[in-house]
């Protein structure tokens, strides 16, 4: 590939800044409604269930499962070197789902079984932005 277009990066807003600040510090932080006692995503000022403004931020486990995905063969501008790559929805253990990439695995359907456990990996995309990506949880861990 001759193109070296930059990948699009998020520009945090006041409502989402704590999420992106958490990623930079390698913590997956989620908004939590203290009335409903549940997490939600994407970040917003009011709870999407009860419209309460009693929202706090909590550190999430970074664990979840692979809910659904595609293996993209038609890269977005800036992603030419990465194709094929996995665009996935991860079901977090805390409840919410988010879009991400599944990395550190060959992008083949047989390696990407729905509901398989995944864990967050933080990837620095710029000096300001760190993206939460996910990888399969290794079954044989020595740590």
């Amino acid at each position: 590939m001759t193109t070296t277009r930059p990948k699009p990066l998020p520009r945090p807003t006041p409502e989402t800044a704590p999420f992106w600040e958490g990623c930079k510090q390698r913590e997956l932080r989620l908004p939590f409604c203290t009335v409903c006692q549940r997490y939600f995503f994407y970040p917003r000022r009011y709870c999407p269930t009860c419209l309460s403004d009693a929202i706090t931020w909590r550190k999430a486990s970074g664990r979840g499962t692979l809910h659904t995905y595609i293996i993209n063969h038609r890269p977005a501008p800036g992603f030419e070197q990465d194709a094929p790559y996995v665009i996935a929805i991860v079901q977090l253990d805390e409840g919410p789902r988010l879009m991400t990439n599944i990395i550190n695995v060959e992008p083949q359907p047989e390696n990407l079984i729905p509901d398989m456990p995944v864990e967050v990996v933080f990837e620095d995309a710029s000096a300001e932005i760190t993206l939460p990506k996910f990888q399969p949880v290794r079954t044989e861990r020595n740590d």
Partner: protein
């Protein structure tokens, strides 16, 4: 108490642009204008009678201005490819309420040649720009397709069943001289075509074309005065759900589809078995599968076997996408107008692949990535 709107409003004019496909010599707003002019000629109405304008993509202001119309009803609802279904729904209420007398709904899109059309853009501070674009999404093929694996996991839907939708739809296209792709294809052809976003291949994705279409609606009383047989609106529905595909509540079913379908059937007061013909917006092969389930023609998870048995194809018991669909006929970007056009043609007896005895037709579409939805049920029986 709801007002009974059944058959109170009719489509009296329906037409597409002269050409569909690759039209590099026309700008987008002119595609609107040509479709509008063709619908005006089709109805045999005077332009000066039209006092309501609805449009998406291009502003209804721009459409009114290029046609030299100063309307007293304006609908700029723009929620993606189903916007025209919503325009019909709103026009029914507006016409019955007396807001105006004749509503012109236009679509024109230079989706392929991109003449007189703005560039793709996404804002890094938007919700999508923050929580989807950084992971390499590149338009509909990378977003609309994300739910499919969940449908496969939940219901055992197979790649062959997905491919069957493209095969069945191509059989209709073979009967339509205006369809862009008409050569027969097999399941193997589909599965051997280039991977776009696994599990989908090239032949499971819609075309990208230029073209347009327009409709003219008026009250049932006034509809008698025009040259074509009226197509009455029986019921309409609309809904919306997720701003991004990643916030879809359940990846195996669309709540916005269900909202739209349920209202349309409730207002129409008919059963599923009363419908003779379906136009289910097919941006990708799974879109009509999700629609068939949400509309209640099959149970959740049964759309795969339904399409694999060729029940939607010529000779099948429930004809679907008889123009050849977005997969093989045309797909400008906001395809919903073309689904409505084929419903009108079938109800008038003007279709290229004309079905016998069509009395009730249903057109249903998504907007965005399962984000919005519109359903229109029509009949030729007063």
């Amino acid at each position: 108490m709801a007002i009974d709107l059944r058959k109170k409003v009719a489509i009296i004019g329906a037409a597409e642009t002269d050409r569909l496909g690759i039209i590099p010599d026309m700008s987008e707003i002119e595609l609107h204008a040509q479709a509008a002019r063709n619908a005006i000629l089709d109805a045999g109405i005077s332009k000066d009678q039209i006092d309501g304008i609805a449009s998406a993509g291009q502003s209804p202001v721009a459409v009114a201005d290029i046609l030299g119309i100063v309307p007293q009803y304006v609908d700029g609802t723009s929620v993606g490819g189903c916007s025209f279904m919503l325009h019909v729904a709103h026009a029914v209420a507006a016409l019955v309420a007396g807001y105006c007398n004749f509503v012109l709904i236009t679509h024109g899109e230079s989706g392929r040649s991109r003449v007189g059309k703005g560039p793709w853009s996404s804002t890094p501070a938007s919700i999508q720009g923050q929580f989807e674009a950084p992971y390499g999404t590149a338009g509909a093929p990378t977003q609309f397709t994300v739910p499919i694996v969940r449908h496969m996991k939940t219901f055992g839907t197979t790649e062959e069943q997905l491919a069957a939708v493209a095969v069945a739809t191509r059989r209709w296209a073979a009967l339509n001289p205006r369809a862009m792709f008409r050569d027969p294809i097999t399941i193997e052809d589909v599965l051997n075509s280039r991977l776009i976003a696994w599990p989908l291949h090239l032949l499971e994705c819609c075309l990208v074309t230029d073209g347009g279409g327009a409709l003219i609606l008026t009250t049932a009383e006034k509809a008698r005065d025009f040259r074509k047989p009226p197509v009455y609106i029986l019921g309409t529905g609309e809904g919306c759900e997720n701003v991004m595909i990643s916030t879809m509540h359940d990846f195996t079913e669309s709540r916005s589809f269900k909202r739209a379908a349920d209202r349309a059937f409730r207002l129409a007061g008919i059963e599923r078995k009363d419908v003779d013909h379906l136009m289910l917006y097919d941006a990708f092969v799974h879109t009509p599968m999700y629609a068939l389930e949400a509309l209640g023609f099959v149970k959740p998870g049964e759309s795969g076997p339904f399409f694999a048995e060729m029940r939607s194809a010529p000779g099948g018991d429930l004809p679907i996408n008889t123009n050849g669909g977005g997969l093989s006929y045309t797909h400008t970007g906001m395809y919903g107008m073309f689904a409505l056009q084929e419903s009108v043609r079938q109800l008038r007896g003007e279709a290229a692949a004309q079905l016998p005895n069509v009395k009730i037709s249903l057109a249903h579409g998504p907007g965005g990535m399962f984000s919005a939805s519109g359903t229109v049920i029509m009949t030729n029986q007063l």
